[in-house]
């Protein structure tokens, strides 16, 4: 589904990703771990299409096409969803209106009929209930004044509404209490299917107790330096990232 080859990315003149390789097949869940500043969010933004991040080398293929040639909205319409580590506040834009615009833009691109307000409200209420989210979040402006936890839930709500083929969750678990964490996990697990894939970026093993990854990668210094099964996450948790870096230095 997603094939990243030798990806080099420069932000503001600084190379952040330095030859990253990643293969994700339909149905798989990949966890991406790594110390702060290693380039995890850079990867998620490049995949979502943020123009500021300049690809200088390498390629990204998604469902057989050159992903890097597509505008961000086209990527979303073709099934890519990135839950932001830091969601953006958009004052004055009603959250319900935003969600409806997003869903209809994607439905339109898929050749499906747009939903009217009534049908949309019915759908969004169902999703809210499943996520145990408060309906008051719908009436507020997009992320404006939301607590960290509310923002993360809003990201998960968007994900379950838009039903992406490839979901990238950028530290959606950070700063969440255990109940909120279970809600995020539920959102992910209900989407899990043989056609869908996910890249779950996380700092902690915690989330992976609820979302079982097929593969765990460690990102360090702008490339993936280690991959393994879910036991790798446990080992990292126990030994810390220093262990990865030491190993690299010894190998060098």
């Amino acid at each position: 589904m997603l094939s990243v080859k030798d990806l080099h990315v420069v932000v503001n003149g600084k190379e952040i990703l330095t030859g990253l390789n990643l293969e994700i097949k339909p149905g798989e869940i990949h966890a991406l771990m790594g110390p702060n500043g290693s380039g995890k969010s850079t990867l998620s933004k490049v995949l979502a299409g943020r123009e500021e991040y300049v690809v200088t080398e390498g390629s990204v293929t998604y469902k057989g096409q050159d992903l890097l040639a597509l505008a961000p909205e086209v990527r979303a319409q073709q099934g890519i969803f990135m839950a932001f580590q830091y969601p953006v506040e958009i004052p004055g834009v009603n959250n319900t209106y935003f969600l409806q615009m997003a869903l209809n833009a994607i439905r339109k691109a898929r050749g499906e009929a747009e939903l009217n307000s009534l049908a949309f409200m019915r759908l969004v209420r169902d999703k809210l209930k499943a996520l145990e989210m408060d309906e008051s979040l719908l009436k507020r402006y997009v992320n404006a004044g939301f607590s960290g936890g509310e923002m993360k839930r809003n990201e998960i709500l968007q994900m379950t509404l838009l039903e992406p083929s490839l979901a990238i969750l950028d530290e959606t678990d950070s700063g969440l209490d255990i109940d909120a964490l279970k809600i995020v996990a539920r959102g992910v697990n209900t989407l899990r299917s043989p056609e869908r894939a996910m890249l779950v970026i996380t700092h902690y093993q915690r989330l992976l107790d609820y979302i079982e990854p097929d593969v765990v990668h460690v990102l360090s210094g702008g490339k993936i330096v280690m991959s393994g099964d879910k036991s790798l996450a446990l080992e990292l948790e126990a030994k810390g990232y220093g262990w990865v870096q030491d190993g690299l230095e010894q190998a060098a």
Binding site: A48, G49, R50, E51, E52, A71, P72, E73, R75, A76, Q77, M82, F84, P87, V88, I90, P91, G92, V93, F98, M101, A102, A105, I106, A109, Y141, V142, Q158, L162
Partner: protein, 371 residues
Amino acid sequence: MNTLPTSPEAIATLLGSFQPVALEDDLLTPDDVEQLRLTPVESLRVVMLNGFFMPELSTLPQDGSVTVATTLNTDSPDEGVSIRIKAGSVLAQALEVLHVSFSFESEFIAQPRLRVVLEAGAHATLVEQYTHLSDTLCLNNAVVEVFLEAGARLSHPRLQQESLRTRHLSSLHVNQAAGSHYHGTTLAFGGAWSRTEFHVAFSGTGAHCDLNGFYLVGDQQTHDMHLDVIHNLPGCSSNARFKGILYGNGKAVFNGNIVVKPDAQKTDARLSNDNLLLSRAAEIDTRPRLEIYADDVQCSHGTTVGQLDPEMLFYLRARGIPQTQATLMVCDGFASEIIDTCNAAALQQQAQTLLAKRLASVTALAGVNDA
């Protein structure tokens, strides 16, 4: 042509270069009013054509809670309308004043005069609209005076949407007695150039004034917002929030003055002005000024001038929303924080429609910041 006269002399010269227009009967029809009105058909409505009161097109009150009289000042040739709302009356329906410019003449001047008095404890909503039916060159020179007696409350949404050949000068004077409450929102979509003045004065303590304003200034347009709020008595509060969106070579001036006199202890005065510039050629000159001569007060002011936030656009686009629509949504959101203060559904709807139409017509909205 589009430079705005600011000195009194320049304004006088300008006024002199426009001709008074005669009252033309049968020019404006009930159908036109039906098209233009922003309140339910049965609402009380005062219709003014080129500054003249049009009683046959107006819907006047029957029950005595509101009286409408013409000619404010017998010494003056200006015709005016005076609306008085009886003490303690709580009007269930909004009152509308519709100012229409429409003539086959050119370079004419309209001078609407409006005085609104809310007697003690009266509550009302006054919807005011400045609009046009013809595209002729004219000058609208309006004076609106609002008197709120003790404990009166007025909600005052105003929409200015004039032709791109119209010049607009208007001044709003708000006079507030003890414990009165004024809540106004002026949405200015402009003419060729416009200058809107706000003057707020208090005659009693414990009064509150909310002044909200939004201006959309496009190519070939100039808009000047001038604000004077004088706190001369203790215990009053004022909150002025103005926002503007500028594009093309549009120019705007925001001149906000708040004065807190030595006796005005316990004043709470706030002033903010935020501007969104969609093009490099657009210009805003923002001058907020707080003059404080009392020590036990709470005052704040802040202004911002910025471009569309790329983070916001990216967030919307990452959810599948096309760039043009995302740009509209961010602009609309920016303006909505003011438009939503109107508490007048039809007027808000009209303002949103105008905003969307105007912004959609900005060519190559995509990448507006590079223009």
